[in-house]
Symmetry: C2
Subunit: 252 residues, 2 copies
């Protein structure tokens, strides 16, 4: 990555409950959308089991590749919460009780503090805390890796705490055109529009609802004027086929 | 992997729309749940962008590691559908028009067949077709890699077509106990129960709803009698704390 390259991100979802199909992940969409709005494209997501070797491999691969790496899950007080120890192993740092985290937790829990709860203050040596306005135990950061809770409401609160520390690029804007055409009818025209506007990422997504079939065309990029021109091209192309086009705006 | 090792799976979700946060993935949970029921644990999921290099890397890493690899997305007729070409590149095979796929598509589309639609018959040389009862274009398999549509209804139909070709292990069963206790109150007792039953994967998931805080304890394994014993231990432990426990059954 050169100094001028835009920032990128990767996300590691740690959790057997996702891989078993028991739980539908709710964090990828939130983090992806927030990062897009900050101009930090999410380049890859990995869902890995609650196993140290799998977590270490994913962390070490992705932290060398992306500007920022986020992890969700596995930072609670129970035996299956092995994220902190695994991050320590990935960085070759000892797992220690973080003095500031301990102080925060003792303040939050008062006389209810226990050794089990203080397990959540164990972090890789030198970790920086991520404030957790939603509950007692903080997340933490080691170099470019941000370690967040898996519970969506807590993860979101932690993300908002760390967001000011991220250096973003130009926000990634998106415009969508929903059209009553089949993908195969517009594939060639779409390819031509994509070729005309190479700085835009033009995606095509078929849909079927209420007996009708259609295609949503999504243009993403950082230049609002260029996106506007792409939308104009898309609408003209769809109008030219006698089909209906509906324009949507969005930051995702 | 030895000959006696249980089968495993990995999943590659191909799609910029997931990484941008625009679309919530709906395929991981379905595939994970179906595979669990077939005794094929899903070991890893990767979400990668619509870029050949990223797809090739994920396919080649995971096909060497898992018994079965599934991909979703990117097999339509538009310029951003690059999965077939990327799978061909991963296997070092040419991308060719598959005669049987072409025949199926000509039959399905009749006089509406076009060169653009026939783009969906381009597959790595030697690919085996995966029947698509939901729409015209089939998926395909190369060695241990199964290439499926991204649209959930079509993906599911394709999965059911290929499921009989998978060699499963003992179905992975699960039992869940929902308890009105905090994780930190039961962490030590849970660790002891996990240690007593090492063949079971015991997970702990905090929840908060309607002003109440609690923990769902999930036991997963292949032996129903052992799971029953674990549930008995869990309920006794929660009863012993004067809290409420509700037992759920499930295959996920």
């Amino acid at each position: 990555m050169t100094a001028d390259a835009p920032p990128t991100a990767a996300l590691i979802v740690i959790g057997n409950e996702i891989l078993s199909g028991r739980t539908q992940d709710a964090n990828v969409t939130f983090i992806a959308g927030r990062l897009s709005a900050m101009g930090i494209p999410l380049r890859e997501v990995r869902v890995v089991p609650d196993e140290a070797a799998a977590i270490v491999e994913a962390v070490n691969t992705l932290r060398a590749r992306a500007t920022y790496v986020f992890t969700t899950g596995g930072i609670g007080p129970t035996h299956d919460d092995i994220t902190a120890a695994s991050i320590a192993a990935a960085f070759g740092r000892p797992l220690v009780r973080h003095p500031e985290a301990e102080a925060l937790m003792r303040e939050a829990y008062g006389s209810d503090i226990t050794e089990v709860r203080l397990r959540m203050a164990s972090m890789p040596e030198g970790a920086a805390l991520i404030d957790n306005p939603a509950s007692g135990a903080p997340g933490f950061r080691v170099e470019n890796v941000f370690v967040l809770a898996g519970v969506p409401s807590i993860m979101r609160a932690m993300f908002e705490s760390l967001a000011p520390d991220l250096t973003g690029g130009p926000p990634i804007l998106s415009r969508a055109v929903t059209a009553t055409v089949r993908e195969s009818e517009v594939a060639e025209a779409l390819a031509a529009i994509q070729a005309r506007w190479p700085a835009v990422d033009l995606g095509s997504y078929p849909w079927a609802r209420g007996g009708q079939i259609g295609t949503t065309l999504v243009a993403r990029g950082t230049d609002a004027a260029v996106l506007e021109a792409v939308v104009t091209d898309l609408v003209a192309m769809i109008d030219g086929r006698g089909a209906d086009a509906t324009i949507q705006e969005g930051g995702g």
